[in-house]
């Protein structure tokens, strides 16, 4: 018994030895990057991380100190994410948190931010709950659910082939899916777009066998489908739906942009997905082309929207810390309000009103890709651009 006590005490002593050194001026600025690196959104998490890393490599230093990114895997689980956030802040001494793919995770961290007391900037969470959620919580990334709904509804109304269809709404069964579904249903009702199931159908996040949902869609009498599904899953659903012959007389509108790597695996079956999002590599501006070139050189991967908006979000964060002149959370938060960055998809500005971003967006449809340096066979073709004012929300 005594021996064991000694062993356990040694363990305790070992933990004591792990106390971090005091920070000094040459110490790097640590930013905690919270992304899913395993589970169903893993590919998205990788792209988020790569975009942030790219920004860090370009920016190199903030406040004269080198940027150090510490990456943690959330496995798309809110409780794991919160403990990783605690580890990043308490153990590693990170001055800010960035990233997060899932709205469920984002909300869990945001609700704990008082304890953590660091600014938290998400580059992907789309839930509208983030508007004005907390002075330390920001969004600079993927379009929010309301902005996407506005973009999609405008797009549907402007496209004769989509305007008069009856839509079946299918969402992922968690915070983001519910919010996205509600937004679309409400806006569709206002604009005279028919929705056959206003209570919208919900599928668990981990669904991989969509056959029953596809059967339900067929049985519903709809001729259009509006999906609020996680980017990495969209091509899986689409491929299976295609196998069931769903698209012979149905069109697909998506709230989230389909993941570019998964699109490649899905191939022809994934043509014709319509949706509004921040970015596609089809955008033809000097800034976009330059960014894509650098991204391709660094990662040899198809430039994805997840990478693009996390790059921009990271730049906003770094510039915010620079502008604040210190690592004090409230000072950084004040500096972030109103900050903007010109990047691959135009100017992205964080609104001082609600801590969330306003920027241009594009309406896209997936189809066969033209010649391109990435070897991509499928791409999102830009149909039109939206101005920030069109998308809202008003300030």
């Amino acid at each position: 018994m005594k021996r064991l006590f000694v062993v356990a005490l040694c363990l305790l002593a070992a933990t004591l030895l792990w106390t971090p050194r005091f920070a000094d001026a040459e110490e790097p600025i640590k930013i905690g990057v919270i992304v899913p690196l395993s589970g169903i959104a893993a590919q998205g998490g990788v792209e988020l991380r790569d975009g942030i890393e790219m920004a860090a490599k370009e920016k190199k230093t903030v406040l004269g100190r080198p940027i150090e990114l510490i990456v943690e895997d959330t496995r798309v689980k809110p409780d794991v994410a919160v403990s990783k956030a605690e580890k990043l802040v308490y153990k590693d001494g990170c001055v800010a948190l960035i990233g997060v793919f899932s709205s469920g995770v984002g909300l869990a961290i945001a609700k704990n931010i008082d304890k953590l007391n660091v600014p938290f900037l998400t580059t992907h969470v789309m839930t509208t709950e983030f508007y004005g959620l907390h002075p330390l919580v920001f969004r600079s990334g993927q379009l929010a659910n309301d902005q996407t709904a506005v973009g999609n509804v405008k797009g549907i109304l402007a496209t004769p082939d989509l305007k008069n269809r009856k839509y079946y709404v299918l969402v992922h069964d968690y915070a983001w899916g519910h919010d996205g579904g509600e937004r679309f249903v409400a806006l569709a009702k206002e604009n005279g777009i028919e929705v056959v199931n206003p209570d919208f159908d919900k599928a668990p996040i981990k669904t991989t066998d969509w056959s029953t949902y596809i059967s339900k869609i067929k049985a519903s009498g709809a001729d259009g489908v509006y999906i609020v599904l996680i980017t990495t899953v969209i091509p899986v659903f689409t491929k299976q739906a295609d196998e069931f012959g769903l698209f012979e007389n149905m069109r697909l509108v998506s709230a989230a942009a389909p993941g570019v790597t998964e699109l490649e695996a899905g191939g022809k079956a994934c043509y014709g997905i319509f949706g509004a999002s921040c970015y596609s590599w089809d955008i033809d501006t000097p800034a976009a082309n330059e960014w894509e070139k650098k991204y391709w050189e660094m990662y040899k991967a198809i430039p994805s929207d997840a990478a693009a908006h996390s790059y921009v979000g990271a730049m906003n964060l770094f510039n915010g810390i620079e502008k604040a002149g210190s690592t004090d959370p409230m000072k950084i938060a004040d500096a972030l309000r109103g900050i903007s960055f010109d990047g691959p998809y135009g100017t992205v500005r964080i609104s001082a009103k609600d801590n969330c971003m306003r920027n241009e967006a594009v309406l896209t449809e997936t189809m066969a890709a033209p010649e391109n340096p990435y070897g991509a066979k499928v791409y999102m073709k830009v149909l039109r651009t939206f101005t920030p004012e069109e998308l809202g929300p008003p300030e």
Partner: protein, 292 residues
């Protein structure tokens, strides 16, 4: 009316396909339990491994049918290794240790899969003639799913031939029911244990390759399959092959119907069935099961 027929056909076929996959996995699990006397918690991971091997084989340009043949064999060889190195030495110890061992094995194999193949969802490419949509009247159904049904029937046919008509099969059946007698008769029980385990692994791998194009190939595909297959073998009766047939299609149908009619707590019904069977009919629906 048209949509009714179409939906009805969808439900029937979806149930059969789901049940079919459950069946192959459950039979493998039952064989391992009956012959090798092991409750194999790593079975789901072996199923996933089969799917991943299938993916790699097809990905390297070979025909899908070759993958269907080779992947299960690879999983079988792997199973042989596992049986010799890990399972056999544990046979004298109380069952709980083997249970926890196969549990650790499951974690290990899952980690191995992620390590070797990464986290993303993978697709298995099918040859063009399998990748079509069959349309009869108002019913459109993927031809691959129908082909799977034939595949399952073929596998079951092969198995029943093996078990019913061959000497090896008869030995296996006897060893499953009355192991003591069989060993007294001079049959090498070590071979029986080994053979049973390997056969079970082959079946798991085969189910994985079949299911790959259906459900996509992703790292945790084994987990759900494991739980579902446990439910199936409990309801069908532990070790009962005929019971597994009944239970697999029953569960396949219940799950499909439940998902269709938006009954959120549908799976609760399935688990309750499992609980009821365990308490009141532990020998399963057909009364053929056995608990050690």
């Amino acid at each position: 009316m048209q949509t009714l027929i179409s939906s009805g056909a969808d439900i029937v076929f979806n149930s059969l396909v789901l049940g079919g996959v459950f069946l192959i996995v459950a039979i493998g699990l039952n064989i391992i339990y009956g012959l090798s006397r092991v409750m194999n918690l790593a079975h789901g991971s072996l199923y996933a491994l089969g799917a991943y091997f299938g993916f790699t084989i097809v990905g390297s340009g070979l025909n899908f049918f070759i993958a269907l043949l080779i992947a299960p064999i690879v999983v079988g060889v792997f199973g042989l290794l596992l049986e010799r190195v890990l399972i056999a030495p544990m046979r004298e110890r109380p069952m709980i240790y083997t249970l926890i061992l196969t549990y650790g094995l499951m974690f290990f194999l899952d980690g191995l899969i992620k390590y070797l193949w990464g986290n993303e969802t993978r697709f298995i490419e099918l040859p063009a003639f399998l990748n079509q949509t069959l349309t009869v009247g108002s019913i459109s159904y993927p031809s691959y799913r129908l082909a799977t049904l034939f595949g399952v029937a073929g596998i079951m046919g092969g198995l029943s031939l093996l078990l019913g008509k061959t000497k090896i099969g008869t030995t296996m059946r006897a060893a499953s029911n009355i192991p003591e007698m069989v060993s007294v008769l001079g049959v090498n029980m070590k071979l029986v244990h080994m053979g049973g385990f390997v056969l079970g692994c082959v079946l798991a791998g085969l189910a994985g390759v079949l299911a790959g194009p259906l459900f996509t190939v992703y790292p945790i595909m084994g987990h759900e399959m494991l739980i579902s297959s446990f439910v199936v073998i409990v309801i069908g009766g532990l070790g009962s092959l005929r019971g597994a047939v009944l239970a697999a299609f029953l569960i396949g149908a219940v799950q499909t119907l439940a998902e269709f009619f938006i009954t959120d707590f549908a799976m609760v019904v399935v688990y309750m069935m499992m609980a009821v069977i365990l308490v009141f009919m532990p020998r399963g629906l057909l009364g053929e099961g056995k608990f050690e």
